[in-house]
């Protein structure tokens, strides 16, 4: 009896083991899928329909657990084609004119965005409506950028990701995808911005040196409210980074004068997209000097320039002189730290003069120049004192060495006399 019981028990155990996979499959079949859109589209032969699902793997929305339903609607738990039934909220591909509104449903919702970021960027549809892009879209222009043209679609990356088209280093190239002569053919908007920007001090800093503090297109034109900054605003635009210069220029009489003449503030002297590293050669009425472009010889502006420019170059010469004298003293082993400190302050004043020039206030500029001159003169005095001290030390050293050697000589004589006496 016992072997029979063992056989029955073994057969029952085997039957149970065989039934387990079948039970698991049944359970899987019964579970509702998380995102049937991806499951089906990934397998489709039509590349156009499969690509969104494949790209979504890296999408920032996907990474945060959001699915296709947010933009396209439908029922992702339904594994059949009925998941795309309009009755189940399926919207299909949104129309271009509706894309911004659709993105805004989440990105303009502070509460929703805070779920993913405690300090979220909140998109403003109102701001977007002020942009040239939005206005043209509303006019029915099909070639104007909306959200997906800049940010991408299905595979959208965070703007902090260096691969993202809206990462700061990639923004100029992204804008240039539309703002180029070929795409903009037949339109009045200029198309040389990107070419100029790449040669500019900003472009070189951002694109060549990878300096992420350098401005890209959106830093001057705005992101979602992109507009060409008009003459009245340009000093405020440049002033967001060049604060002191912008502030001084905004208060200056020159700003109002330029406005009356229809000139574009900072860009009048510095240019806009192709702005180059400003050198001191820009200051003046001759050569590369830009003052002469507006101020004719003999005018009040030209006369002020004739006073300021030589004084400015004299300060530079003084600083250079102090620097070389301190270098000489330093090489001779003298302590020149105090002189170097003064020179640093004089250098700061030189930078201050360059900034103050943007206020076009002769009195203010002269005051800064005078202060710089005083500091440079003090540094020169320190260097000269160190050199004088060095000469005094050498004389002192020579005198003391002679005195010491004299004493040594006298000692030698004393020894000789002593030993001669002893010998005798």
């Amino acid at each position: 009896m016992r072997p029979l019981r063992t056989l029955i028990a073994s057969l029952a155990a085997l039957a149970l083991l065989a039934a387990l996979p079948a039970a698991a499959a049944a359970a899987r079949a019964g579970a509702k899928p998380q995102n049937s859109c991806l499951d089906c589209h990934r397998e489709l032969d039509d590349a156009r329909l499969a690509a969104p699902a494949k790209a979504f793997r890296e999408d920032v929305h996907g990474a945060h657990g959001l699915g296709c339903i947010g933009c396209h609607g439908g029922d992702p738990t339904d594994t059949d084609i009925t998941s795309m039934d309009p009755d189940k909220g399926f919207k299909g591909t949104p129309a271009r004119k509706d894309i911004a509104e659709m993105c805004a449903t989440c990105h303009a919702n502070v509460e929703f965005m805070k779920r993913y970021n405690p300090q979220p960027y909140i998109f403003s549809m109102a701001e977007f409506r002020t942009s040239v892009h939005c206005k043209r879209i509303e006019e029915g222009d099909p070639k104007v950028a909306t959200c997906t043209n800049c940010h991408g679609v299905h595979g959208m990356l965070s703007r902090k990701d260096p691969r993202s088209p809206v990462h700061r280093r990639n923004v100029p190239a992204t804008c240039a995808r539309c703002h180029n002569p070929e795409y903009m053919k037949g339109r009045t908007a200029p198309t040389d911005q990107y070419a100029l920007y790449r040669t500019s001090v900003h472009g070189k800093a951002l694109l060549e040196k990878g300096d992420l503090s350098a401005p890209a297109c959106n830093n001057c034109h705005g992101n979602h409210g992109a507009v060409p900054p008009n003459t009245r605003d340009i000093s405020l635009v440049c002033g967001t980074c060049h604060g002191r210069e912008g502030e001084l220029f905004a208060k200056s009489t020159v700003k109002a004068g330029l406005e009356l003449e229809g000139k574009r503030g900072c860009a009048t002297c510095h240019g806009n997209h192709g702005v180059q590293l400003p050198t001191d050669a820009l200051i003046g009425t001759t050569g590369a000097g830009v003052c002469g472009r507006c101020h004719e010889r003999g005018s009040a502006g030209a006369r002020a320039t004739d006073v300021i420019v030589p004084a400015f170059h004299a300060l530079k010469a003084r600083i250079g002189n102090a620097d070389s004298l301190l270098d000489v003293a330093d090489r001779l082993g003298m302590e020149v730290e105090a002189g170097r400190e003064l020179l640093k302050q004089a250098d700061d004043q030189l930078v201050n003069v360059r900034a103050t020039l943007h206020g076009f206030d002769t009195k203010q500029i002269t005051a800064v120049l005078t202060e710089g001159d005083g500091l440079a003169d003090q540094a020169i005095s320190q260097a000269r004192a160190a050199l004088k001290d060095w000469r005094t030390r050498r004389i002192g050293m020579a005198v003391s060495v002679v005195a010491i050697l004299l004493m040594a000589g006298l000692l030698v004589l004393r020894i000789r006399r002593l030993e001669r006496g002893a010998g005798a």
């Binding site: 302590e335 010491i404 020894i415 002593l418």
Partner: protein, 357 residues
């Protein structure tokens, strides 16, 4: 004047000193030149004490103030630059003179009986001089000193068993901080001077007691070498040497004033080409040329143990050499001394040529 002399004589027992001075003499032979180096070292030590006390009037031993106080001393205090420069140059010359004294005593076999204790106390004094140099180097709290001290204490930390303790003891923690500076200041101006005073007293007493050693090559000669009175003949010659050293110090201090450099920044990267002071150079270069591993043991550890073992052998040479100073054993030790001198000189120079293996 005579009355003052009598007054002092009665109270201080000047006759005894006079008696010692009259009695002491120095043998005169072709190696007598080397006798002056002990006195030279003592003279430079005196300069160190005098200038060190003057520096103390302005120096402030804290990470926040040390550099600034030295800068103030060098730029604002009359002759402050001169005092600091002389202190720094004299420190180097003193260690140089002590080394010449030590090597000449070795080659002339001045350590033979009964002068073993004189040799041992002299070696301790040399060690103390190196400790003075190492601790004093950090005190201006400048960049080079900071990183050289870091390298130096790192090497101490690699010594087996006691290394980690020594590293924490020297630094006053795991890292070089203001606490290390205060500690080094304490070593430099209190502990080391106190110990040095005692050992120096013992060394001078032993020199007085046993007199100058005569090298083996001169010892057996007949007639014996003539002798010169210590006071005044030898002392006057000593003084000529001291004046020459003083003139050299004046030249060095005026022509090559000791630089202050940049203030130490513990968070800055170490500047390129950090080197220890020249007197530690040969040890530094030895560790640098050793391969990473020697027979499976870390190269640096082998180097430290080798240098330590060499130091112990060098210290015990009076007990290892032939007491007569003659014969094959004596020749072996003399040649070993020559090899050691060549090694130290060549490896010191290699540091300054930036040579690497």
């Amino acid at each position: 004047m005579n009355r003052l002399h009598e007054w002092l004589r009665d109270r201080l027992g000047l006759e005894a000193l006079q008696h010692v001075a009259d009695k002491k003499d120095v043998p005169v032979h072709r190696h007598s030149f080397w006798y002056y180096w002990g006195g030279m070292t003592l003279f430079l030590f005196g300069i160190q004490v005098a200038t060190g006390i003057l520096l103390l009037l302005y120096y402030r031993a804290s990470a926040d103030e040390a550099y600034e106080s030295v800068r103030f001393l060098m730029t604002q205090v009359s002759f402050g630059w001169l005092i600091r420069s002389i202190h720094s140059w004299s420190a180097n010359l003193m260690i140089g003179a002590a080394m010449v004294h030590m090597f000449s005593a070795f080659l002339l076999k001045a350590y033979r009986a009964p002068r073993e204790a004189t040799w041992l106390s002299g070696m301790v004094l040399l060690g103390l001089s190196l400790a003075f140099g190492f601790s004093g180097y950090l005190l201006p709290w400048n960049e080079l000193a900071f990183f050289a001290t870091k390298v130096g204490t790192d090497i101490t930390g690699a010594v087996p068993v006691i290394g980690p303790f020594m590293l924490r003891f020297l630094r006053g923690g795991e890292h070089i901080t203001g606490g290390t500076l205060t500690r080094f200041f304490g070593f430099h101006v209190a502990i080391l001077p106190a110990v040095t005073t005692v050992i120096l007293g013992v060394h001078l007493y032993l020199v007085m007691r046993h007199g100058m050693s005569v090298p083996p090559s001169v010892e057996g000669r007949t007639p014996p070498p003539p002798r010169m009175k210590f006071v005044p003949n030898f002392l006057l010659r000593d003084m000529v040497g001291w004046l020459a050293a003083l003139a050299l110090l004046a030249l060095l201090a005026a022509l090559f004033p000791w630089e202050l450099g940049l203030k130490a920044d513990p968070y800055a990267p170490a500047p390129a080409g950090i080197k220890p002071e020249w007197y530690f150079g040969w040890m530094f270069q030895t560790l640098r040329v050793l391969p990473a591993h020697i027979l499976g043991v870390e190269g640096e550890l082998v180097g430290i143990l080798g240098i330590g073992l060499g130091g112990v052998v060098w210290l015990l040479v009076p007990f290892l050499d032939d007491p007569r100073g003659q014969g094959p054993r004596a020749r072996f030790w003399r040649w070993l001394g020559v090899v050691a001198i060549i090694y130290v000189v060549v490896f010191t120079l290699l540091v300054y040529r930036g040579a690497k293996p």
